[in-house]
Symmetry: C3
């Protein structure tokens, strides 16, 4: 597994990342299998959020690694904060909303540290752009969390280009990533300026839903064509879709949200698929229905 800087000033993350958001339905054995399979294939970065699994996934993960203290320094833990869900766990929430106040960020980080049974997060992301975000307040709390050693690096998720530029302008240290939806089936952020602006700031995106939410499983013409490509590369369609992302010069880090260990194995091996430039454009044409201009 390639390891790669997500930003010139960031630490290395594994190029493919395991996403934990669907793990709440799994048994402890199931969780351990996903962690072990990840590590076997060099996937050392795990993507969390406070809210995943109705506020439960971090804790399940923390329990699964509790007896393996040597593990902590070989993995990178990413988590997020800023969304407040309607949940039986949070009876004080009357509506789904965002909160990027100093108090909430600090409280959320403390919760995440306790749940993950660790004393630092490698990377903390603001989960959604909050229209009530005060960038000066966020800058202050990020500095404080960094100085205390509780969070090593900071980023955002689902931010537009102007939102990235706004928050960046207030921060002492750079945002190291913007975790956004990118796939062959949802490629618009590659063309509308979002990813261009990240590249200008030397920020690599993390991609959620990198396979397009399973759209390629539909029995249709696109699926048939992808199958033909995949056969030529002696790989699976999911590997082909990941290779399409990995080929992009922004240095995309795909997040695999599967609960099936064999799909992690498959995903990790996508890094060996070297997609030809013409095939990249041919795959794009499959979904746009037209040649480039």
């Amino acid at each position: 597994m390639e390891r790669k800087l997500i930003h010139p000033k960031s630490p290395e993350f594994s190029r493919v990342i395991t996403g934990v958001w669907r793990w709440s339905a799994l048994s402890t054995d199931g969780i351990e299998a996903l962690i072990n399979t990840s590590l076997e294939h060099g996937i050392t970065t795990f993507d969390h959020a406070d809210i995943y699994g109705n506020y439960s996934c971090e804790e399940l993960f923390g329990k699964a690694i509790a007896n393996r203290p040597a593990l902590r320094n070989t993995i990178q833990l990413v988590t997020k904060c800023g969304i407040k869900l309607l949940s039986d766990k949070r009876p004080e929430h009357r509506i789904k909303h965002y909160d990027t106040s100093k108090e909430h960020i600090i409280r959320s980080v403390e919760n995440s540290l306790r749940n993950l049974k660790t004393d630092y997060l490698d990377l903390l992301l603001l989960h959604r752009p909050d229209p009530l975000m005060n960038p000066a307040e966020v800058a202050e709390v990020f500095s404080k969390l960094k100085q205390s050693g509780k969070v090593l690096f900071f980023g955002v998720s689902n931010f537009t280009a102007p939102q990235v530029e706004l928050l960046s302008s207030y921060l002492r240290d750079p945002l190291v990533t913007n975790q956004i939806e990118i796939s062959l089936f949802y490629h618009q952020l590659l063309f509308d300026g979002t990813v261009d602006t990240l590249m200008k700031h030397q920020i690599s995106p993390m991609a959620w839903s990198p396979l397009g939410g399973g759209k390629f499983f539909a029995e249709n013409e696109i699926q048939k064509q992808l199958e033909t490509f995949a056969q030529r590369y002696a790989c699976s369609i999911s590997q082909l879709l990941l290779a399409w992302l990995l080929r992009h010069p922004s240095g995309i880090f795909p997040i695999l949200g599967t609960t099936n260990p064999s799909r992690l194995t498959e995903g990790a091996k996508a890094l060996t698929v070297q997609l030809d430039k013409q095939d990249w454009f041919a795959m794009l044409k499959l979904v746009t229905g037209r040649d480039v201009a």
Copy 2:
């Protein structure tokens, strides 16, 4: 009434601003009542434009304050230029168009000073983005007006983010505001990068039509829901709508365009309504029809 910097390098304006654009139908008594009511509640900033009331409002205002010379240094006069209306007062105009030439800006400022019976404007705004604007020429005339003491600060109105960044890049002094339409009912500029870019430049917006042009008077479900919120805060719906704007971290300065003194009183008191974060999102949901993502 809170007074507040609209930009770190600007003077203070009153947080709520009285807009003069509908005053041409009023008697002298009516105008004096609006000025006096404003001042009683700490609204010291008055928003004009050369064209308001078919080029008449500045002069009506000037006449109303002519006998009160002590007033001038306790109020802030904002006016605009750059639109040329089809008007019997301007027979040389064959079509509604924009003019941000040096000659027109200077002539318009001289007119405004004469009409307002003052020797300086606190703030001059370009009223609309002019596709024929030459930013170097605007920079030159702004410098000249500042040096002469005729205009203390400069801003724009209805500019997009790239237009703000273009003009800013040519100016010696910062633009201190962009006066744009913002309300609960027209909130898109809070999300499309316009306000994010203002915040990046530490520019606070002024909001025109802050109540959404009276949309809340319609007898519908939204109105009923707003009424429920308002009762909880022991305030009126208009105060609630203003509190929604005042809660935004960009530091919005709402402009009240009413001709009814009691509505100015009501608006000024909106500053005491401290809107809860969850209610801010609940009000947003009222008009979008959905939860945040």
Copy 3:
């Protein structure tokens, strides 16, 4: 013919440019006539691309000027690279795609130099924004081409504002132009931030399809109205449409893609038409159907 800096650090180009893209169907005499007519009217800049005429136009042009070595230093040659066409001349292309790799840019420049029978290009443009463009790689190859003297200046074509800002941030020397579609009939890039961002970087656009692809030939109400304007200015409709572009403060350089020498003569003389500001807005209203806001 006015000559004009397209960027403060660029050389001068003629304000009206002859575009070579349709010349492949012409005889040698026809090509020489277009070159001579251009030069007679001071149009010294010629706009090429590797792919024009199915990869043939550069060579046809090169042959036409081969016996006139004194000509080279009095003209400016612009060409482009980055598109790979499906073509019998390029059997290795399986799909229309983009290529802005170091290898392709260098190979394309070498081809252009050979075809145009010259040892330098005045200006090289990337023809389309390539989603697989690596800006660091492009910066490296641009530096190399400049140091070798093979290309004097660099620009882009059909780039969005964020794409211009991305590539610019990697380059040592500024991009001197973005060649984009602009006409009265396709004026949106004047309003959506694209041209504003160019102006912020002091980049003048070149305009392709400056007459709107002949839309004004349609027998309709717009055509009738334009005819009335043209009569008032004692010019043709095409001259009026060019004057509309030349009036814009971004300093647009229109490219004339005609194969009719008399239309080049006509176009060159458009520079003498001084369009009144109100007429500029009246022409805009003809196509938008409404007054400015």
